[in-house]
């Protein structure tokens, strides 16, 4: 903290300074204040006891729906599956047009064009996973080609993975350059895709690593930082999201720019989603409570939100046959 790296970064040209060499970048990232695991866990647990009822619950349910990146990332994905998902994203509850659309549909690269066509100008974005998702184990050339392919097909958002192997062996500059290169591709030929950087926190393991990786991604130009691919357990957790949100907050304090945050994987219930929204509300504040700055990467969550929404409207629980199976 002394002098605070957070303050260092606020000076003009500072990003160039701390990323000019592997050593400088390492000094910066390792100079960030540590995270005490017990304390971070306790804070996240304390916030998850907030009681969200009645009007607050109704507000949070609609907000959560509007923040979902409705996701299918399976080897068995087909055009049919993606069409169904796109329909669901635009009209989550066929009986209730007051339900907001989800923020995006998230698919593998080869299905981007199809999703784009299905969604048209509905406002639902198409996110594509890239850079040899989920492992990130491919050459830089392949990763960049993968990303370029998604952008060319019209993806609005690119969810890239970082090279966790490089991170764990301390090759931070390599990751920085990789992210920066993908970011450039996002803006090639007049495109303006948003870049989400997946840290895969389940493989980084320590909260110190999570904080460093968050800063590394933000330094390199991430528009969003994202916890997980959903392919590794644990995927997102509340404390990991807390640590990442704190990084977003500190980045904003230093630079005046807001970076978005996306927890992904394992968020299945309305109750879970509420806990995340409370975390956002009390860590970074109201400004982040918009799909522009906060997303929930999920698939089964949407149906639980819809069931809870129906319950609030009718006063009774319906059942799984009253929401659509996609």
């Amino acid at each position: 903290m002394s002098p605070s790296p957070v303050a260092l970064i606020s000076e003009p040209g500072a990003v160039g300074d701390v990323t000019r060499s592997d050593a400088a970048l390492r000094r910066f990232l390792h100079g960030l204040p540590g995270v005490d695991q017990v304390g971070a866990d306790a804070r996240a647990a304390a916030l998850s006891t907030r009681s969200i009822k009645t009007t607050a619950k109704a507000f949070a349910i609609d907000l959560a729906i509007s923040m979902i990146d409705l996701t299918t990332l399976e080897g068995s994905d087909t055009p049919g599956k993606v069409r169904t998902l796109c329909a669901k994203a635009q009209r989550p509850d066929p009986h209730d047009s007051s339900v907001p659309m989800t923020a995006a549909v998230c698919v593998y690269n080869d299905l981007v064009g199809l999703a784009k066509a299905e969604l048209g100008d509905s406002g639902v974005k198409v996110a594509a996973v890239a850079t040899a998702f989920p492992s990130g184990r491919a050459s830089l050339a392949v990763k960049l080609a993968d990303s370029r392919d998604a952008v060319v097909q019209g993806a609005d958002e690119i969810d890239m993975v970082i090279d966790r192997g490089a991170f764990l062996s301390g090759r931070y500059l390599e990751i920085f350059e990789e992210i920066a290169a993908v970011k450039q591709i996002c803006h090639e030929d007049g495109a303006s895709a948003h870049l989400k950087v997946i840290l895969e926190t389940g493989e980084l393991q320590t909260y110190d690593n999570v904080r460093r990786a968050s800063w590394l991604a933000m330094l390199a130009g991430a528009d969003f930082i994202k916890t997980s691919t959903g392919k590794i357990s644990p995927a997102t957790t509340l404390p990991v999201t807390l640590v990442m949100l704190e990084a977003c907050r500190d980045w904003y304090d230093a630079t005046g720019h807001r970076i978005g945050m996306k927890p992904a994987g394992g968020i299945r219930t309305t109750k879970d989603a509420m806990k995340y929204l409370v975390l956002v509300n009390e860590t970074v504040g109201t400004e982040w409570l918009t799909p522009d700055l906060f997303r929930l990467g999920a698939s089964s969550l949407l149906n639980d939100l819809l069931l809870q929404r129906q319950k609030m409207a009718t006063g009774r629980y319906s059942g799984p046959d009253y929401v659509t199976v996609d």
Binding site: P33, G34, V35, D36, R43, T49, R50, K53, A56, L289
Partner: protein
Amino acid sequence: MPTPFEYAPAPESRAIVDIASSYGLFIDGEFSDGSGGSLKSINPATEEVLAEIAVASDADVDRAVRAARRAYTRVWSKTSGAERAKYLFRIARLVQERSRELAVLETLDNGKPIKESRDVDIPLVAAHFFYYAGWADKLEHAGFGPDPRPLGVAAQVIPWNFPLLMLAWKIAPALAAGNTVVLKPAETTSLTALLFADICRQAELPPGVVNIITGGGDTGRALVEHPDVNKVAFTGSTEVGKAIARSVAGTDKRLTLELGGKAANIVFDDAPVDQTVEGIVAGIFFNQGHVCCAGSRLLVQESIADELVGRLKKRLGTLRLGDPMDKNTDIGAINSLEQLERIRHLAGVGDDEGAERWTADCDLPAKGYWFAPTVFTGVTQAHRIAREEIFGPVLSVLTFRTPSEAIEKANNSPYGLSAGVWTDKGSRILKMASAMRAGVVWANTFNRFDPTSPFGGYKESGYGREGGRHGLAAYLDVV
């Protein structure tokens, strides 16, 4: 700008608890009228009168002590450890079963947020009884010789900040060791102790083993000065503690005192900053700062002071002050008008001494006793707000330059109950912990309690230990 996420009211229901319009004294297993008049117990969040409480006169105190003596001689001193353990386990389970009722009543009577009474106070009460239940049949293995004996009748006087928890800290080890007790709760917070009396009956504890008498300072004085008590245990202010020590001097009564504090919470420049901010909040704003071991003096390394205080103030802006029964309330009511006035007075002294006052921006309810979280910066060792216990949500911020200066300043206090150390460096934690003249030193956390850990003070914070194996010594005839 997005719509704010406003939490709708989420009040806990008070229907679970039956509050009688008046309460007598619990003596010899029964409730009986007191002969010293009565006093009113008030909900400090609403100023509503909850119940009338009997005031025990000298004659009532004598009746209670005699009941305790009788129960000790005839029953409890002849009850085996394993048998005593059964009662304690039973009480612990009943506390768990009736935890919601106890939590609601504690919050109504004390003003602390339901979140705290539900998640902290009551679970710790049960844990304390479970822990000492385990010791009751193992006293000969506790390191006090082959057959440690109880003391006899214990007179116990407890404060209003953690009413039921302080009762548990007193009663559980006393009974486990084989003593009988007469306990007097604080005059503003007697209700959970009286509900506990009902739990004792439900557990079929033999009459007279636990007696609960209510009243003010005079009742407490009569109890500790009663010639037939063998042990006095007091938790409360240093001033009253000194008076008790004087009155007990020259008698053969054993005495343990757990008194005030002015704990230093020491933050080094390599501290994990976000968790430190949480720890400062937990240290001084937990339970409205009504905590004897509260981290009321923040000692922060000068090089990071501005940044840390800035982050702290931002965090304090998110605290939710208001209806203690709302499940989302972080800061509840000040327990009494008297205490509120004391806090106001000492905060005023801080202003006069030239410290800079900052108050979190929050609306205070119109009724009830409230004090917004307050931080004084620019405080020096010479200021009264750096030396005197405020016992409210008021933090004094001081700075230091080197570890040795931190040690010197932290120890430069007539008190020595607790301290906190925040650093990423393990060796520094160990060094600081051994240098602190304080009974409890927390490292990278604050205000965490566990029945297995002894608790107590140095210097004017008192003597004797509660909790853990050490806590047994206070109720056994051992040195």
